[in-house]
């Protein structure tokens, strides 16, 4: 009971403060007490997934999703520097969240029923599909050709389930990071590297030794991940993302982090109304 009254006191106080000081946070619900108390937003982001999250020359995370994480911190704490970014991988992002190391996942997290059993999702903020990267001289024409072949995947990534279901005879080499995956493909340790199209597209463009198969599969949605039972926090994150989108920040960030001729495709990925009908 005491805790409750302290919380509500805080809510009243922070509401009053927010109304008084911060114009940009005006339309947002109050920041949950537990988060507020830390004074800093702890977010897990990707560091090997340009343009959403990658390390710059100083070794600091940058990217479209990283900018979103900083923006949420700016809304919540009044400064984009009030953010503690942790590099996570597909395999460790949910354990990091559950273990309390971070309070929010903004790391290319795909929405799935299995994941929804252990964490809560924000509203979908982007969508994407998968493709497979193959060597330039590869005879592979479509996904069926991977039957009996070796395919590199990222540990914990959602292409694993797709291949197990649709091309069960393919054997999967599971690695930790995109650079490991590309390295292994170039060394011909496998016949293809299955991953999100958004990552593979710039790689295929930059690296003339590889190309995309070009068959898009497994369209999926991306959302922020939040520990179960933190309803107020979900509401806050939803409102913050919506506000950032409404302010047109996404295309600003995309223009900072994506090469000119790929920008429109990425901006479309962040627009849920642009999902192809299948």
């Amino acid at each position: 009971m005491l805790k409750h009254s302290v919380v509500s006191l805080w809510l009243v106080l922070s509401l009053a403060l927010a109304a008084a000081s911060s114009a940009s946070a005006q339309d947002l619900p109050p920041v949950p007490e537990a988060i507020k108390k830390q004074g800093v937003l702890r977010v897990g982001v990707k560091c090997d997934y340009p343009p959403d999250g990658y390390l710059d020359a100083q070794g600091k995370p940058q990217g479209v999703e990283v900018s979103l994480a900083k923006q949420i911190a700016a809304y919540a704490f009044g400064g984009a520097d009030k953010v503690e970014l942790t590099c996570v991988t597909a395999a460790n992002r949910i354990p990091s969240l559950q273990g309390g190391k971070i309070d929010l996942i903004i790391a290319t997290l795909g929405v799935s029923a299995e994941r929804a059993q252990v964490i809560d999702f924000s509203e979908n903020y982007a969508w994407g599909g998968s493709d497979v990267l193959v060597p330039k001289d590869s005879p592979i024409k479509n996904l069926k050709d991977f039957a009996g072949k070796n395919v590199i995947v990222m540990k914990g990534a959602w292409q694993i389930g797709w291949f197990e279901k649709n091309v069960p005879s393919a054997s999967l080499l599971k690695l930790d990071g995109v650079s490991d995956g590309l390295q292994a493909l170039l060394q011909k340790r496998a016949d293809g590297f299955a991953h999100d199209l958004e990552v593979l597209r710039p790689i295929a463009k930059k690296n003339t030794d590889v190309k995309l198969v070009g068959e898009i599969y497994q369209l999926g949605y991306r959302a922020a991940g939040i520990r179960k039972g933190e309803k107020d926090w979900v509401d806050y994150v939803n409102a913050a993302i919506a506000q950032a989108k409404k302010a047109g920040l996404i295309s600003t960030w995309v223009k900072q982090h994506v090469e000119a001729d790929l920008q429109q495709a990425v901006i479309d990925n962040w627009d849920i109304s642009k999902v192809p009908k299948s």
Binding site: A90, A91, N92, I94, P95, Q98, G99, G100, E114, R115, V118, I119, K155, G156, I160, G161, L173, K174, L175, D176, D180, Q183, A184, Q187, K188, R189
Partner: protein, 223 residues
């Protein structure tokens, strides 16, 4: 944070974990055996101060002991193909663990050889017993007995370090656990389970070696 420990989940995961355990045992057993062989050869070269080979062995030991194992694993898996040597995931793992354990074993076995008293070596020379026979008949039987505890120590480390091989995608115990975790997210149960499995594995290895040591010490026991 509240958490319901789910024993049923561990039981359901056991078949997959045992598959991983099998790989851990195979890779470790091969690597431990090869590492002991390297240790014996390397230590022999060192105590006889064989030209060229002795400094080579010494440099090898220094190199391995002063670089992180993970770097060595990545070097073998991702680096060597650039030089034209492409090993499979399985053999990359074995080579990495063998090279790592071999370096430590050279020092372990060398210590054992050094504990054999100088008089033995002088007596062998006086009786014109050549170096190989001195090694085989005197230094190895006496020195290896002394080296057993430290060789065991290194072997345990090789077994535990096999967990690093998950980084290159070898489907050993830790890899299987991480792989399942990335889909089921039962972190506590999974790490508790593989912790217990590793503990059991290492304890059995220590027990087996202690039995062997006890049997080997028979001639020296006063009963």
């Amino acid at each position: 944070m509240k958490h319901n420990f789910d024993i049923a989940y561990i039981i359901a995961s056991l078949p997959a974990l045992l598959e991983g355990l099998r790989m851990t045992i195979i890779v470790s057993a091969i690597s431990i055996t090869l590492a002991i062989a390297i240790g014996i050869v390397g230590a022999s070269v060192r105590i006889f101060n064989t030209p060229i080979f002795s400094p080579l062995a010494r440099g090898y030991v220094e190199f391995v002991r002063n670089t992180p194992l993970l770097v060595q694993i990545f070097f073998i898996f991702f680096g060597l193909p650039a030089l034209g040597l492409k090993l499979s995931v399985f053999w990359s793992g074995i080579v990495a663990l063998t090279i790592w354990g071999g370096a430590y074993n050279i020092e372990n076995v060398r210590g054992g050889f050094l504990s054999v008293s100088k008089g033995m070596r002088e007596a062998a020379e006086a009786l014109s017993i050549d170096r190989l026979r001195y090694l085989w008949l005197i230094a190895l039987p006496l020195g290896l007995r002394v080296a057993i505890p430290s060789v065991l120590n290194t072997s345990i480390s090789v077994l535990k370090n096999s967990a690093y091989l998950q980084a290159i995608g070898l489907a050993e115990l830790t890899f299987v656990a991480m792989d399942k975790l990335s889909l089921d997210f039962r972190t506590l149960e999974m790490f508790a389970a593989i912790g217990c499995i590793y503990l059991g594995l290492v304890l059995s290895l220590s027990w087996a070696v202690r039995r062997a040591e006890w049997a080997l010490q028979r001639p020296f026991r006063t009963e």
